[in-house]
């Protein structure tokens, strides 16, 4: 069993040129003979697994899950590699190019799952969903990954980045209520900025979070990026509105926000630099472990929507997928199903209490899940997250009757959204000019 990056275990020693040559010759002979297959070592099937949730506590939970799985399946070895959202596509591309494709990828967000499916790169996992219990999955998550009679992913969990975390003490002092509209949010951020405090923490870096939330804000403004007929409609009024909003709120974010990604956005709030931030329930565990001084002054609300906008919130709908070029389908399916064994599942979900919400109804409503001390401490925040997710959609299928946007992962990973945003906020371009640039780039991407 191994979890995380491997490190050399031995000390350095001198190796003679002869030893190197002997080793190379032996290796070549083994490779040529076909006796050595990377996926099978010492008679055990080796599973290469990527995970996109990789906080230290989550990796600890995975280590336990892997240990229990290996104990029950002595013929299978699981090698877990944490991968960041930003690195997913480069890592997958390198894996495919090197012929060493992961057997499973855990906690992939919906946009990327749909894109992998659109490229024809996923094996169905219908039997895994049925083994776990089809009816136990939350319907919107389950339906998202069902197409042509098969499940192309197992919905593993959900998280809601469409939340605004705020400081109750600071809002009380300023006599403000939690914001419900973008205008309220800007007014709140303005009122709370000063004396070393910044009103909001939002992402402006060329990284995953700015790319991710752009969809959400455009949908909230009543727009789309891709129309149901798959034409590009990015260059439109709602996009301009979103860009203007992000430019206005930029005046109240900490210096350095031009490079903020997920971690930085949350960290500014957790460390008390910003009075609010857009983030998932991960704020709960991070505040309690890193800055408990403000732990009694945090709360969340669904992310504000523009006046006259659409009450649209996004869920990540993380899933487990099995790439087609993997080498060990059966073992991979066994490990995929093992993720949902109640003890392992709850341990992983509650490694970051409130950040990820179970997609299994039996777990969501169980005492075992809800008895986590931090979830007990913040029942309102948990309920806000669950309620918001109940109304949430995936950005790659913004409405129930909308077709899957099969290039959503490529669009989101392209950096086009973040660069459009930076063109307005840093470069001073008009929203119209920046959106026209973005439209052109997305259209090019859709053509490939």
């Amino acid at each position: 069993m191994s979890v995380g990056n491997k490190r050399p275990t031995g000390g350095q020693r001198d190796i003679s040129r002869r030893t190197v040559i002997k080793g190379a010759a032996a290796g070549s002979a083994l490779a040529a003979s076909g006796l050595f297959t990377p996926a099978i070592s010492q008679g055990r099937t080796k599973l290469n697994v990527f995970t996109l949730q990789r906080a230290p506590l989550q990796m600890e939970a995975y280590a336990k899950m892997v240990a229990s799985f290996e104990a029950a399946h002595p013929d299978i070895e699981v090698d877990m590699l944490p991968v960041s959202q930003t690195d997913l596509w480069p890592k997958l591309a390198a894996s495919y190019a090197g012929g060493d494709v992961p057997d499973l990828v855990l906690q992939v967000t919906a946009e990327n799952i749909v894109s992998l499916y659109g490229q024809g790169l996923l094996e169905p996992l219908t039997d895994v969903v049925k083994e776990i219990g089809e009816d136990d999955f939350e319907e919107s998550a389950r339906n998202l990954y069902f197409d042509k009679g098969e499940y192309f992913a197992v919905p593993a969990s959900n998280n809601c980045v469409s939340l605004l975390w705020y400081r109750t003490d600071l809002l009380d002092q300023a006599g403000l209520a939690p914001p419900k509209t973008w205008s309220d949010f800007i007014a709140m951020a303005k009122a709370l900025t000063g004396n070393g405090m910044y009103g909001a923490s939002m992402p402006y870096g060329q990284a995953a979070m700015a790319n991710s939330i752009t969809w959400t804000l455009i949908y909230e403004a009543g727009g789309l990026v891709i129309a149901p007929d798959m034409s590009v409609v990015f260059n439109d009024e709602p996009t301009y509105k979103m860009l203007e909003f992000m430019k206005e709120i930029h005046e109240y974010v900490p210096p350095g926000a031009n490079r903020y990604d997920f971690f930085d956005v949350l960290n500014a709030y957790v460390m008390g630099t910003a009075a609010s931030c857009m983030y998932t329930g991960r704020a709960i565990v991070n505040v309690n472990t890193e800055n408990p001084a403000i732990a009694d002054s945090i709360a969340c609300t669904p992310f504000p929507i523009p006046t006259g906008g659409v009450p649209w919130w996004s869920g990540a709908f993380e899933g487990i997928v099995m790439p087609k070029a993997g080498k060990n389908y059966e073992a991979a399916k066994q490990f995929a199903a093992w993720n949902f064994k109640p003890e392992e599942y709850i341990a992983f979900i509650n490694a970051t209490p409130g950040h990820q919400i179970p997609t299994l109804k039996s777990i969501l409503n169980s005492q075992a899940y809800r008895s986590d001390p931090l979830l007990q401490k913040y029942p309102e925040a948990l309920q806000t997250t669950i309620d918001t997710l109940a109304k949430a959609n995936a950005t790659c299928k913004p409405f129930d009757d909308f077709p899957l946007i099969l290039k959503a992962g490529e669009i989101q990973g392209s950096g086009i959204f973040a660069e459009t945003l930076q063109r307005v906020v840093i470069g001073g371009e008009t929203p119209q000019k920046a959106a026209a640039w973005g439209q052109d780039r997305i259209a090019r991407l859709m053509r490939t």
């Binding site: 480069p90 495919y96 210096p255 031009n258 490079r259 630099t273 086009i416 470069g427 991407l445």
Partner: protein, 290 residues
């Protein structure tokens, strides 16, 4: 009597090895640059010269091209001037010189990811030591990596900081082998310190500086990791150089053929620059004729 066949046979393994290691990837890159394919599905679709036509008519390519030369020129000027100056200092006798010569290597030995993290921390607009110093003088804090041209200035500075020890080592080695008689003769002739530097030291450093500039130019022209780690090419595309554009095209917008085309153009530009540099140096007598 010489046997030419035997000679070719003896050369053959080397030629084949070089062909496989250098020629094959190069040919592969050129061939792929005439195709379009997704990095995951890897099904090439022949598009002829379209990739080249597109990149050469797009703002992004020329912006990256310009950034590449700003980065290259800035880095070379800073690291060579800093490296030569420090080598001259370390060539003089002073207490602790041995320790200073050892410590000077530190930036060069540091892994790039560590260097990038250290500098990002030092340049942090809220908590960084550099801004603390600036604010100590009553000046406003600077968002070093989030604004332009500050980001380019920052990466050039950090890049030069990492690379200057290489210049120091090379120049110092040459300085130690310059015969003392040349300086003595210059002094007897009444040359000033500046005169001795310009008329004795610099001509003696010509060959080594030629090699140093050539190597550093090649390495800096294709620098990827430091820029990627420090700024990711941003803000906007202010520090996006050609290698970063190759990465973006291949792994962010999945235009692998275009990425290959940019890489091929980079190679051609480098080849032209090196040829020009050699010609210029020969004409100026910077390098000795063998």
């Amino acid at each position: 009597m010489r046997n030419p066949v035997l000679g070719y046979l003896l050369l053959a393994p080397t030629v084949i090895l070089l062909g496989v290691l250098v020629g094959w990837p190069l040919i592969e890159a050129v061939v792929l640059s005439f195709n379009q394919f997704h990095p995951l599905t890897r099904q090439p679709n022949f598009v002829g010269l379209r990739n080249y036509a597109e990149i050469l008519t797009e703002e992004e390519f020329w912006n990256a091209f310009k950034n590449n030369f700003i980065w290259l020129a800035g880095s070379l000027v800073l690291q060579i001037s800093l490296g030569v100056a420090l080598a001259l200092m370390l060539n003089r006798s002073f207490p602790g010189r041995g320790l200073a010569r050892t410590l000077i290597l530190f930036p060069y030995l540091l892994p790039v990811v560590v260097a990038a993290l250290i500098w990002q921390w030092m340049l942090d607009p809220l908590n960084g030591v550099i801004n603390a110093g600036i604010e100590g003088f009553g000046l406003p804090a600077v968002d070093w990596l989030g604004e332009m041209p500050e980001a380019m200035i920052a990466v050039i500075t950090v890049g030069s900081w990492r690379a200057f020890p290489f210049v120091v080592i090379a120049v110092l080695a040459r300085l130690q082998s310059i015969p003392a008689e040349l300086y003595e003769a210059a002094e007897v002739d009444g040359a000033s310190a500046w005169g001795r530097f310009w008329d004795v030291t610099m001509p003696q450093l010509g060959n080594v500086l030629f090699v140093v500039v050539l190597l550093r130019a090649i390495w800096d022209f294709r620098e990827f990791d430091l820029l990627f780690l420090m700024t990711g090419g941003g803000p906007l595309s202010g520090t996006t150089t050609l290698p970063l554009l190759v990465y973006k095209e291949a792994f962010e917008v999945f235009q692998t053929g275009r990425a290959q085309a940019i890489a091929v153009v980079m190679l051609l530009v480098m080849a032209v620059l090196i040829a020009f540099y050699f010609a210029l140096s020969r004409r100026g007598g910077t390098i000795d004729e063998a």
